[in-house]
Symmetry: C2
Subunit: 300 residues, 2 copies
């Protein structure tokens, strides 16, 4: 299948430039119909900032998920879904967790989360990616500034901005353990990056991203009105994060790991086609072949 018209060209060998977002941020602004949906104030905040933090959202899930992760580190050892740090053999990320664990699968379909996702995307959604970022104590390395959408568009073929990442803090996220830095409002701009994409770029980029990282001047320009925010919180805090939000995170020099469990939801009306890079698609653990709408699971 040939990729459709490219509304968001990036890494196409041109000079970097900042484009306007062409898509809505929120696809369904109607009144909440469930207690889990975001209220109008929260929706406005998400629209404006491109993210929202919900403290104490599911603290009861933290211990069981951490146990499950310990188990999965053993059971998934040696698989390509496990990515190590650039400078050491410590685990940096694990992917496709929902395919290897019933608990992770149920978490990804938790009704409390899916109702918000459906509300923001204005449609049903499928799980494009599940991921644990570990940021190990002392050795966890930084993530460069980037928009997830830019990568998903160029390398996976996501056509439009109609996806969100929902992530749960499994450790306390503090100023010391490499918290996520975001540029509020940056989701309304799109940096069409310079350069091109190498074959199998993901093998490097999951350790340290280079292609698709905006130049300092672009970041400066986007950042000048709104500054930076670091997302901190206790374990059990949920964060919802628009697909095009500019974000990065520093090294973790501290003795405290920073594990966050991330689920990427893409609208079923925005299913990926072929990568806009023209290269072959990335592995299935980065962009799921299963694009069926998710069925919510109740808490009990």
């Amino acid at each position: 299948m040939k990729a459709a018209q490219d509304c968001y060209p990036s890494r196409v060998g041109k000079r970097e430039e900042i484009l306007e977002r062409l898509d809505p941020v929120i696809y369904d602004y109607s009144e909440p119909i469930s207690p889990n949906a975001l209220n109008q104030h929260q929706l406005q905040q998400f629209e404006q900032d491109g993210f929202i933090t919900l403290p104490d959202f599911m603290p009861e899930m933290v211990a069981p998920l951490l146990d499950e992760i310990s188990r999965m580190k053993q059971s998934m050892a040696g698989r390509e879904e496990l990515v190590t740090e650039p400078d050491s053999h410590e685990l940096r990320s694990m992917f496709a967790l929902h395919q290897h664990s019933d608990l992770m699968d149920r978490f990804s379909r938790d009704q409390r989360i899916l109702e918000i996702v459906h509300q923001l995307l204005g449609s049903e959604a499928y799980l494009m990616q599940s991921r644990l970022n570990i940021k190990p104590a002392f050795r966890g390395k930084s993530f460069s500034w980037h928009s997830d959408f830019e990568t998903w568009h160029v390398e996976d073929g996501m056509p439009r901005m109609r996806a969100v990442t929902v992530w749960l803090m499994l450790d306390e996220n503090t100023e010391f353990n490499g918290p996520l830095y975001v540029v509020p409002g940056s989701h309304k701009k799109y940096v069409s990056c310079q350069g091109t994409t190498e074959l199998n770029n993901h093998q490097k980029s999951l350790k340290k991203q280079v292609a698709g990282v905006p130049e300092p001047e672009s970041i400066q320009q986007i950042l000048k009105d709104n500054g930076l925010v670091s997302i901190k919180g206790k374990p059990g805090t949920l964060v919802i994060h628009e697909c095009n939000l500019l974000h990065g995170s520093p090294d973790n020099l501290s003795p405290w790991p920073r594990s966050v469990l991330m689920m990427v939801y893409n609208s079923v009306e925005n299913r990926v086609t072929t990568p806009y890079s023209g290269l072959k698609p990335r592995p299935e653990y980065l962009s799921s072949a299963d694009q069926a709408p998710l069925k919510p699971v109740n808490k009990d």
Copy 2:
């Protein structure tokens, strides 16, 4: 001259261990005799934490010093006293500033600073090192956990813990631009590090220190009672920092540089001898050959 008995062995090819400090933290606890000296409360804080932050100490010096630095970047270009970042050609540190600038020389002998230094060291002092750390926006890399004293002892031959670093913030130091992390109270322990020291180690260590970096287990143990503190403040804030305080700092991912001007004062009763590593001394810009007591300069 042969180095005296080694009270603080490190990198001597043994297993890492944590030793007790053998020296006082403050050498003169008598009542302040000048308005610039620290009061008893501040002395106690320094004794306990190993550092003290003095906001708004010399804000009037920031602009002239920044101008001077701009000039010196040109006039010192190409000299070995200029150290670049490990991953780029951006400037990371500049040394021996007082030898290349009258303003820097006068700053290093500012009476307001020297009175505190004399008080803490209980003696006159000489300027062992002057240094600017730049931590450039976007590209400034982390500094590993270390005690300055450990390096000065092993690589420069500083016999005992009787030195302080005084540093002035030339930019605002925030949570985002790679602020200094310190472990309060860590100056009372000494990590005798494993390994040995390579010849010309400083050529690498000034970009990224490896030898003399305690193992995570040692840092955990020292840190478990007091946690971490990040030192933040406005330009013009002065920080005094005991020579054996465990510290490090993360990347600077932000668009704001973090320049700090550092002066290292060593007691004239603690002059360096030969390096305890047994290797040849480091260059003069890291440990000054001029060990004459500093003469204070008044502000005007």
